[in-house]
């Protein structure tokens, strides 16, 4: 018994001593408050843009989002992905700063302290989960058994909820360290802190500099560490799902190909590729803006979807479902609601850059519309169903 209690006392003394062993003055509340503020801003931007992306792809009820501004989705998703990558150094810096608190003794002072620490664990775990699986996902490394969009979506609520609670708990410290200047600090402390925060900001800034060119064309030459180059791909455009991967290589060259417009229509249509080429052609300049953050602009020509809808006699508030030749897969079809199919920029495109579409870009016909995630710009289109 006596030996046991001596042992326990020794372990306790050792444990109590751990936080004191972190010598750097940078493990301070002031540094944590500054990094916390930056993280709060970036996680808020990621949460808002992420929800926007989710609801453009899964609109609740009959709700429709607008087709303008043309490049809105490209910008919000660029902020989501490039901003998310730039958050990685902020998170690592913040967790390093507060690391001594992981070893605080006693680990739980009270029930409410235990709850608080549990929620910090949720916040830390969810932050690491979102940023690291996000990085792997845009690098096409899928080492997990779950569906990334579903896991990323629900974990975002977990993260942001735990963040709100954390901010409520720590707000007094943020105010104290960032908005009041009372005590005089030694100059070395100030220098060391500025240097550290400057380094972290530089790591974030360089992350942006070396990746943002995958969506912002003027900087594409600097995109050394981006998973995409917006100039690389068939016809100078990146591809997400190739014709081979979609299993449509044989079908798209079938001479019996018809584009049909059916469902709630006055006159059902059935058009050959040559028929489509004889209809009035329009040329638009629109980006493909991928949910993975890259985007690339191109000149598309083809038939306006609203012209086809008018020919078939579709009601003005109808929802059109554009279906692909693909047999399965999550992106086989997409819904086009009234603001989008009524927009003169929305085409069933037959050409890109003046040439017939490459098979990987959706030959014979693909949908291209403004302010819309790339995953919904359905390729290899063979059917439009009105409802």
């Amino acid at each position: 018994m006596a030996r046991g209690s001596v042992m326990r006392e020794r372990i306790e003394t050792l444990a109590r001593g751990v936080p004191g062993r972190f010598g750097s003055a940078l493990h301070s509340e002031r540094v944590a408050a500054r990094l916390g503020l930056w993280l709060g801003i970036s996680f808020t931007a990621a949460f808002v843009t992420g929800l926007f992306s989710h609801f453009t792809q899964h609109p609740p009820g009959r709700l429709a989002w607008p087709s303008r501004p043309v490049g809105l989705y490209r910008v919000t998703q660029g902020i989501h992905v490039i901003g998310g990558l730039a958050t990685i150094p902020l998170l690592f810096a913040k967790l390093w700063t507060v690391y001594p608190k992981l070893w605080q003794w006693p680990p739980f002072r009270s029930f409410s302290h235990a709850v608080e620490r549990a929620l910090v664990l949720v916040l830390v775990g969810a932050s690491l989960f979102q940023l690291i699986t996000g990085l792997l996902n845009v690098s096409y490394v899928y080492l997990w058994p779950f569906s990334f969009p579903a896991a990323h979506y629900w974990t975002a609520y977990l993260l942001y909820g735990a963040l709100v609670i954390h901010v409520v708990n720590e707000w007094a410290k943020v105010r104290r360290w960032l908005w009041t200047r009372e005590e005089v600090e030694p100059r070395e402390t100030v220098t060391a802190r500025r240097r550290f925060l400057g380094t972290v900001a530089a790591a974030s800034g360089l992350t942006v500099l070396f990746t943002v060119g995958e969506t912002y064309a003027p900087l594409s030459g600097l995109a050394l560490l981006a998973p995409r180059d917006p100039r690389v791909g068939p016809q100078g455009l990146p591809v997400n799902r190739s014709a081979a991967a979609a299993g449509v290589t044989a079908m798209i060259h079938d001479p019996g190909y018809r584009l049909t417009v059916t469902g709630a229509v006055g006159t059902p249509l059935s058009l050959t590729y040559a028929d489509l080429l004889r209809l009035p052609q329009h040329t638009v300049r629109l980006p493909i803006a991928c949910v993975e953050g890259w985007s690339a602009e191109a000149e598309w020509s083809g038939v306006r979807l609203r012209d086809l809808a008018a020919m078939a006699g579709v009601a003005p508030d109808a929802v059109l479902t554009v279906e692909s030749l693909e047999r399965g897969g999550g992106y086989r079809s997409s819904e086009v609601r009234a603001p989008h199919w009524g927009d003169p920029l929305t085409l069933l495109a037959l050409r890109v850059g003046g040439e017939p579409l490459a098979p990987d870009h959706g030959f014979p016909v693909r949908l291209i519309a403004p302010n819309r995630p790339g995953a919904l710009q359905t390729k290899w289109v063979s059917k439009v169903v009105a409802a």
Partner: protein
Amino acid sequence: MKNGVNAPRLLGYGIGGGLVVTGLAGLVVDARLTDPLGWALWFGGLVVAHDGVLVPFVLLTGVAVGRLREPAPVRAGLIVAAVLSFLALPMVTGFGRRADNPSLLPLDYGRNLLVVLGLIALVTAFATIAVRLRAGRRRG
């Protein structure tokens, strides 16, 4: 939970708690897609890998760098280099490449990372020399 309870605080806990519950419920209800066990392994695994491996490694490196005569530029250079290497690692390994789609991961990421690390090393070296010269002048 520390500074007494007031209305904004309760509102914050309400919103935060509601979001946490929404997230947990979604992960469970959507289990077919979220695979809660696989999710939990990733969630816990990342925390353990970060707190148990990455941070201790960074702390030890920090102690070693602290013994240098002019640690500040080296410390900054290593932080930036480590972050960019971490970012590039999944692309450098090329796990995500697919034969049918050469537009995925189209660059030579190994070479690009070396270029970036070379630039960082260069800036670090110049900064170290500058700091030493300044220190020498002050002493002299």
